[in-house]
């Protein structure tokens, strides 16, 4: 038996769409060895998922078609197999887990039934035998109390649990190769750490190979043995993980690393890859990355590069590494531009705070029964205090469901807070009603996470940007308003002509720019950024972060930056508030919180983030279980159910605020002298 488990040679998958033929996968070749983790890394729309579907021969027909290539599993060409033969392979030899555990499970079947189905299919077991195997599998994927979970339905499980069930289903056939398509993208960081650790353990036990598909450089760093980078339907670089992370060779790979936000890059512009991933519907003559590449020269546009081997054994598809061309190459084509320092406006602003939020609470009543009586509350936000200075950025960090977004909306009075006060330049917003509130609205604005749903698809860009100006009466004259729209579009880096088009004609990054232009139109002082980059690719994320930073410097804007991405926080924020279940557990400057986290939850959160540089990797503090429900938070400190340092007092009352320094405070009995 050879060392190679799966060998893909010259795989091409094409799609017939209305826009023409899309070459989603174009001449892709790679090998996966037994027991290794092979990571396929790339931005959205570059053909990663289609590669994995092609391996399973699950390309949606008739629109899609595998045009050429061979896929050999242990030497057997899967392309020659009939559909019936392929069913024997799927599940048995190659299994797959998907990004979205919520939609991959059938909501009307119990967990046990769904895993049992695969067990019966692949292991030819029935009745009690099958049940035992299912219980073993549930146990193997770390689901507590398998006997009870066996009878439960998918909606009774959390996202992380569902992904574990998906893994259990995949394992039921004892596959040789597990294809994991963005297995943790939809999960929170602490849950992601659990699932990734589980995958690693299972791989050690069973010796299966994993094809990991992801866009997250951090996940790849923690998991992979071999890395292949995909761009526009092709693999452009492949090699061992160590070599890849030590010295990426392809200009695209280098740029990806450079565009990652990081605390060390504070005050500098991030390197950006200008433009966006090209459409796969067009014909490529030269290198596919040439248009966006800083190191490109004439040849790159004319001839597609071959594979070249670099010193470290990496294979790269780039003319830069062609020894025959070394002399021909224009001098000074150093691809790795140092991050340029960004002009800092300095702390010229008055230190007075712009926004003061004090003990704000948002409780949603749970109503039941015929008369809609209130039977309980969801404590979405339960006593949060914040202070944002002029021209400053405060980051609000936490896992999904902790109430971050609700705070943002409560500050804007889109949701009326149940209690507490929101003072904006001294005005109490919670008491403003109707017209008085409308007049203040131009001062605080919001940018949403999903640039696809945040603009009315039935309105032209022109109308979208003007809407706020018209509603708030900022510019009465229509001609001047038109001029202002053009000006704003240029300010966010879009052509003036964009205003006569509809939102669907733009890419995600461009739409986010339009959203920023729309908020700027009303000249706000505070912008609440609700995960503005989490729906975007890495290279585009850097563009948006640069733009936000630049606008802050030019216009003196304040940001409340809501995110779960701590590297963005490190890059952009001045102060950080860490939230857990509706309350802030730790608050301080970026240096305080990211470098000396004190609250056990902050520590666990920071340790769970996959980091690229393995040398700086902290020991992962594995949190047990999931976020409790905000409708019945645990008594005492909300975190004590998952806390590794929990003491008896933690379950009895909520810890008060402890000041660790002038700028750093936390809610934890570990630092509270009164705990004893």
């Amino acid at each position: 038996m050879s060392d190679i488990l799966l060998s893909v040679r010259g795989l091409s998958t094409h799609f017939q769409t209305q826009g023409g033929l899309v070459r989603a996968v174009d001449e892709v070749s790679f090998d996966i060895r037994r027991g290794e983790t092979f990571a396929l890394l790339g931005e959205s729309g570059c053909g990663k998922s289609m590669t994995s579907l092609s391996i399973m021969r699950l390309v949606p027909e008739p629109a899609g078609r595998i045009v050429s290539g061979e896929i050999r599993l242990d030497g057997e060409n899967l392309m020659d197999l009939p559909e019936a033969g392929m069913r024997r392979i799927r599940g048995n030899r190659i299994a797959m887990i998907f990004q979205e555990p919520m939609t991959s499970l059938n909501p009307v079947l119990t967990i046990g039934d769904q895993i049992g189905e695969t067990v019966r299919q692949h292991r030819r077991l029935n009745g009690a035998g099958a049940r035992n195997v299912v219980l073993e599998l549930l146990d193997a994927v770390g689901i507590p109390d398998p006997r009870q979970r066996y009878e439960e339905y998918p909606h009774q499980l959390s996202g992380g649990m569902k992904q574990r069930v998906m893994i259990a289903i995949a394992l039921a056939g004892e596959p040789d190769l597990l294809i994991a398509d963005e297995p943790t993208t939809a999960l929170d960081v602490t849950i992601q750490a659990q699932v990734l650790a589980l995958l690693g353990d299972l791989q050690k036990q069973t010796g299966m190979a994993v094809l990991l598909i992801t866009h997250d450089l951090g996940v790849v760093a923690g998991m992979a043995d071999t890395v292949a980078v995909m761009y526009a339907g092709q693999i452009i670089e492949k090699g061992g993980k160590e070599a890849f992370y030590h010295a990426p060779q392809h200009p695209y790979s280098r740029k990806l690393f450079a565009s990652l936000p990081d605390v060390n890059k504070r005050g500098h512009r991030l390197a950006v890859i200008h433009g966006a991933v090209p459409s796969l519907a067009r014909d490529f003559r030269g290198c596919r990355f040439a248009e966006r590449c800083d190191a490109a020269w004439d040849l790159c546009h004319q001839r597609a590069p071959q594979w070249y081997r670099s010193g470290d054994g990496q294979e790269v598809r780039c003319h830069l590494l062609d020894p025959a061309l070394a002399a021909q190459r224009p001098a000074g084509g150093a691809p790795d531009l140092p991050a340029e320092p960004q002009a800092h406006a300095g702390a010229a602003h008055a230190p007075a705070s712009l926004l003061e939020v004090e003990d704000i609470k948002v409780h949603f009543p749970i109503r039941k029964g015929l008369l809609k009586r209130t039977v309980g509350h969801v404590y979405a936000v339960d006593g949060v205090s914040l202070r944002i200075g002029r021209g400053k950025t405060v980051a609000l960090v936490g896992e999904s469901g902790c109430g971050k977004t609700t705070i943002g909306k409560a500050i804007l009075q889109l949701i009326r807070p149940t209690a507490g006060s929101v003072r904006f330049e001294g005005d109490e917003l919670t008491r403003l009603r109707g017209e008085a509130l409308r007049r203040r609205r131009s001062d605080f604005q919001i940018i949403f996470q999903d640039p696809f749903s945040s603009m009315n698809p039935r309105m032209m860009i022109d109308e979208i940007i003007q809407e706020g100006m018209v509603a708030l009466g900022i510019e009465k004259d229509a001609r001047r308003r038109q001029a202002r729209v053009a000006e704003l579009l240029e300010q966010v880096g879009l052509p003036r002509e964009a205003r006569h088009r509809y939102p669907h004609e733009f890419s995600g990054g461009q739409r986010q720019r339009i959203c920023i232009a729309r908020t700027l139109a009303v000249q706000p002082k505070l912008i609440i950024c609700d995960e503005p980059t989490s729906a975007l690719d890495i290279s585009v994320q850097a563009q948006i972060l640069n733009l936000l930073k630049q606008l802050q410097n030019e216009l003196g804007l304040s940001y409340l930056f809501i995110t779960h991405n701590l590297s963005v926080v490190g890059y952009l924020a001045d102060e950080v508030a860490v939230m857990y279940l509706g309350r802030v557990v730790e608050y301080g400057t970026v240096e305080d919180v990211l470098e000396q986290p004190r609250h056990p939850y902050t520590q666990a959160l920071l340790s769970a983030i996959p980091v690229i540089d393995q040398a700086t990797r902290r020991e992962v503090i594995r949190l047990e279980g999931d976020l409790p429900s905000p409708s019945s938070p645990p008594s005492g400190c909300h975190f004590h159910t998952r806390c590794p340092h929990a003491m008896p007092v933690c379950g009895q009352r909520y810890p008060g605020s402890t000041s660790l320094s002038a700028t750093h405070r936390t809610h934890c009995f570990l630092y509270d002298g009164s705990a004893e």
Partner: protein, 479 residues
Amino acid sequence: MLMEGMAYFSSVKPVLLKTDALIFMLLAVIIAFGAYARGKAYLRAPWRKVFSSRTGMVAAVVIVFYGTVALLDSIHMREPLENKGHDGETFYSVEVISLLDLMLGPLKTQVEKTYSAPFATHLYAKETVELPDGSSARLYPRLEYGGAHLEDPQRDKGRDILLRSLSGAGAGLLAWVALGALFIWGMARRARASFSVTLKQILGGRTAIPWHMMLYTAGVFLVLIAVIASLAGHYHIFGTDKVGNDVLYQAIKSIRTALVIGTLTTLVMLPFALLFGIMAGYLRGWVDDVIQYLYTTLNSIPGILLIASAILMLQVYIDTHPDLFETDAARADMRLLFLCIILGVTSWTGLCRLLRGETMKMRAAEFVQAASAFGVRHSRIMSRHLLPNVMHIVLITVVLDFSGLVLAEAILSYVGVGVDPSMHSWGNMINGARLEMARDPMVWWSLLAAFVFMFILVLAANLFSDAVRDAFDPRTLSR
């Protein structure tokens, strides 16, 4: 000829019934919407998809034929009477006729004594006839108009029908070729291409819109109409009813009734459904509660009882106030309009519920939140952000409901709470056929005529609505 026509139309007194006015208003709205949609890319794209669907466009041609008939039947007038008043004042006939009546001419006036079968030359019932020699006998007498020109019906009828059909078909074909050539010539001029190239493109089906299918459908219709026209003057194609009226004439006159019910009801129902649905979904709170209770209550009342009681009350009102209505046609028209209103009032709940749900989904969308963060007023959020985004649902529902309403009219008239008994409608024809089917020998042609006419319209409407749904339903857009 032209002068005669001009003179005739200047002598009649135009009559604008209430439903006529509404129909022309609806037509204006549709034309205005078409002009508006041309300028909006997001509206143009799905319509282009509708226009490129073959079955959809064939159905559209059929609907256009029906619509033309209904429009012709909606231009009403009263003819002047011969005898003038003593001060030279002109009196007008109490009978209101339409442009369609003038065109159908003999169909309306050629009234037999009683039942006669399709293409019959003799009555369907025996009568005692006095023979030339003075004796009397019971036999089937010759019809006054149907096949009256034949010497010996037994011998000549088949040949005569065949010849007339052929000449009619020929004339129809000729008209089709002439009109088709004119159309293609017009297309060629617009595209600045030569006639033969355009002809090849259109007949080969290489155009974005399936013009060839539409031309063929129009051809079939033109030939059919020509054949019927050449026969109708001499025979009763669908026979005659109990009082000798031509059944074909009744079936054609019923088209307007059906289309009025199908379209005006929508016009009545839309404001309720749109306003209440979007308000309930967007404003929530007590507004939502009130609207929900309203439509739940309305839905729990059996629709047919509500309609029956409303119609019966109206009938009493009409009967006690005869002075309000100038003519019988105006009375019947009032009842038709009221039927549309009451059908509209009872049928808005379904669409309202759909819109409420869709709006609730939409109000959580970030663009609506962004608009409220900009301080945009509720009324503008509802009209500018929510309404255009639920329009596809409205359109799909309206087109789907149309055929249901046409059938509902038939059922209501059958039950006896539909349109005025004096008004031609397929429901009334079916209602009349109830007794005719029970007699022996059976009279089946009224039912058949109503069935054929209704079936073609409803089938076309359903096919067209399928095409509309395919184009507008966002779930099918991605495919």
